[in-house]
Amino acid sequence: MARIEVDSVSKVWGATRAVDGVSFAAGAGSLLVLLGPSGCGKSTTLRLIAGLESVSSGRIRIGGTDVTDLPPAKRQIAMVFQSYALFPHLTVAENIVFGLRVRRTGAAERRERLARVAALLGLDKLLDRKPAQLSGGQQQRVALGRAIIAEKPVCLMDEPLSNLDAQLRHEMRREIRALQQKLGITMVYVTHDQTEAMSMADQVILMREGRIEQDAAPAVLYAKPATVFAARFIGTPPMNILSLGRKDLLLGIRPEDVILGDRGIEAQVESAEYLGADTIVACRVGGELALVRAPGRVDFASGAPTRLSWRRDAIHWFDAATGRRRDDVTDAPQDLIRETIA
C-alpha cells in the first residue's frame, strides 16, 4: 500500500498551463478519481504521476519516496491506457507477462503468476490469442492483467472504460472497484464520466482548466458543490442555477428537489420528457429555464401554468461574481422564503 502526494505541481507548455499548481493526496489503498471535461488537465496530471511527462514545478511523492525525478519504471506504479496499448504481435499471455520478462522473473514464477491473474480476470481460455482476436472488453481485461501481475502498490488508469459500450462499462466499473479493494491497490482513475466517479471513488478531484475545482468524497461533491461549475458538472440533469432577479447571489436547486404543484413561484411548462422512472419537465421562470425531475409520468401541455417550490435545506447559494459556494446566506430574501417553502 502506498500513499500518493501531489504537491503544487504545474505543467507548462509554452503559454498554456495544462496543470496549474495542483495539490492533493490519495490515501493508501483508496481509489481517487480525477474528473473533469476534456482538456481540464486530468490526463496530464496522471501522466505526471506516472513520470511519462516531467513536471514544470512541484513535487510528487509515492509511498513516502520523492519520485519527481525518477523514471516511470522506478516509481512502483502500473498503468492502464485508454487505448490499452497492447502489443499487437504478442499473445495475451506474452502481453501480460511482458513486464516480468523485462525484469527477468523466473519461468516457474512467471507461469504461476500468469495463471493466478488469468483466473482472476477470466482470461484462462484466451491466453494464446492475439489482441486483434479479442473483443473490446477482453482487451480491457488483458490490459488490467498486465497492470496487476506486476503487484505494484499503485495503479494508474487513463479513461480505461471509454472505448466500451454502456452495458460492459457498468460491469467493468464494478469489477475494477472490487479488484482494487481486494488487492488493496492505491488507484488513480481518470474519467470525464461523472457516473464512474460517483460510483467508484473514495475521493473525487474535479478539475477545470488545469486547476482543482473541488476535492471531496462523491457524496459531498453532490450534496455541497463548492462552485457553480461543480454543481452543474455532477448530477443529471444538472443543477438549476437561477438568479431570480438578484444581482449578488445565485440560487442553485437540483431538479430532483423541485416540487411541482400549486404553491411557490409561478412558472410555465415548456416541455416534458418522459424517461420511464421519472419525467424531466422544463419550466420557464421569469426569463430563466428550470428543469424539474418529477417521479413517474407527468403529462403537461406546453404553456400550462404551474408553481415551483422546494425545501429550504435543498437550496445552494453561490456568489454571483465568483461562482463560489456561500454557506453564510441564512436570511434568504423574504419574498422567496414566503413563496417557496413547502
Binding site: P72, A73, K74, A85, F87, H89, G99, V102, R103, A150
Partner: protein, 305 residues
C-alpha cells in the same frame, strides 16, 4: 443525379444477357492492351527468342533448341557477371536495409531539425542515378578525388579505386547503399509512425530498455515493411545498372559487370539478340524464385496488423 442515371442504365443493360460481359471487357480493354503489349507479350517473345538463333542479314532465325543455354553455361563472362551480382546483393541489401532502419528510428525520435535530416537522408533517392554516378566518379578519382584526399591525410598512397579489379565492385556497392538507404528509410519511417507511442510508454513503465523495446516490439511490428523493402532491394540489385554505365562500363576486366549490364552489352552492343534473350530468361527466373521464396518463407514469420 448522374449516379442515379448511371444506375438506371446499368440495370437496363444487365437485363440483356451477353451485353454486360462485353461492357466489362471494354472497360478492361485499355489497361489490358497496355499490359499485354508492353509486359506479357515481350516476356513471352523473349522466352521464344531464346530457343532461336539470332537473325543476321539474309539468314532468318532458326530453331536451335537449348543451344543458347548450352553456350551460356560455357560462357565465363556470364558466370563472372552472375557471381558479381551475388556479391553485389550480399554487399548492398543487408547494409542498406540496416542503415535505412537506423536512420528511420533516428529521425522518428524527438530531435531538433529532424525535418531537415529526413530531407537530407532522402535526397540521394531524388537525384537521378546518372548524376549520382558522376558525383561518385569524382569522389573515387585517383589523387584528387575526395576519397583519396581524405586517405592522403593519413598518409595512404593514391589509388585508382574504380580501375582496380579488387576494389571496383565495392565502390559500386557503396554508391548503391548510399542511394538506396534513404529510399527504404521512407518506408520504415511511415511504418514507425503507425506504431502508437503508447506502446513505448507501456514498455517504459515496465522498465524495458530502448534496445529491448526495439528488439521485442518495434522490429517485429516492422516485419511487413522489412519484407516489402527486402523484395524491392533484391529486384533493384538486379535491375539498377545506370551507375555502372557511367562509372565503369563493367570494367576493369568485367570486375563490375552485373547480369543486367551484361545483357545490355550482348543485346545492344553486339546485337546478339537471341543470347541476350536467353540471359534475360535466366534473370527473370532468378528474380521470380527469390520473390516467391521470400514471400513463402518470411510471410509465416510476419505479423500483419
Amino acid at each position: 443525379m448522374t449516379e442515379l442515371a448511371a444506375g438506371t442504365i446499368a440495370r437496363r443493360r444487365t437485363g440483356r444477357g451477353f451485353i454486360p460481359s462485353i461492357h466489362g471487357w471494354l472497360l478492361l480493354l485499355p489497361a489490358a492492351v497496355l499490359l499485354v503489349s508492353f509486359t506479357h507479350w515481350p516476356t513471352a517473345a523473349t522466352i521464344i527468342d531464346s530457343f532461336f538463333s539470332t537473325p543476321k542479314g539474309a539468314r532468318p532465325a532458326v530453331f536451335v533448341g537449348v543451344e543458347n543455354y548450352e553456350a551460356m553455361l560455357d560462357d565465363p563472362i556470364f558466370w563472372r557477371a552472375l557471381w558479381n551480382n551475388v556479391v553485389y546483393c550480399i554487399g548492398t541489401i543487408p547494409a542498406s536495409i540496416a542503415l535505412a532502419l537506423l536512420m528511420a528510428v533516428f529521425v522518428n525520435g524527438r530531435l531538433a531539425g529532424r525535418g531537415f535530416l529526413r530531407l537530407a537522408y532522402f535526397t540521394p533517392t531524388v537525384l537521378p542515378m546518372i548524376a549520382v554516378a558522376n558525383i561518385w566518379l569524382f569522389f573515387f578519382s585517383p589523387s584528387y578525388g575526395l576519397v583519396d584526399q581524405v586517405t592522403a591525410l593519413f598518409g595512404a598512397p593514391a589509388r585508382n579505386w574504380l580501375g582496380d579489379p579488387s576494389t571496383a565492385l565495392w565502390c559500386i556497392v557503396v554508391v548503391t547503399i548510399w542511394k538506396e538507404a534513404g529510399f527504404f528509410m521512407i518506408f520504415y519511417l511511415a511504418a514507425l509512425q503507425q506504431i502508437s507511442p503508447r506502446l513505448a510508454e507501456a514498455a517504459a513503465l515496465e522498465g524495458a530498455s530502448r534496445w529491448y523495446f526495439f528488439r521485442r516490439i518495434t522490429f517485429p511490428l516492422l516485419m511487413p515493411t522489412t519484407l516489402f523493402v527486402l523484395v524491392n532491394a533484391v529486384i533493384n540489385a538486379f535491375r539498377l545498372v545506370d551507375h555502372i554505365v557511367v562509372m565503369t562500363r563493367g570494367g576493369p576486366d568485367n570486375a563490375t559487370a552485373l547480369l543486367l549490364f551484361y545483357i545490355y552489352e550482348i543485346g545492344f552492343k553486339f546485337w546478339d539478340t537471341s543470347y541476350a534473350a536467353t540471359l534475360t530468361v535466366v534473370l527473370l527466373a532468378i528474380l521470380a524464385a527469390v520473390a516467391i521464396g521470400q514471400f513463402l518463407f518470411l510471410d509465416r514469420r510476419v505479423h500483419y496488423q
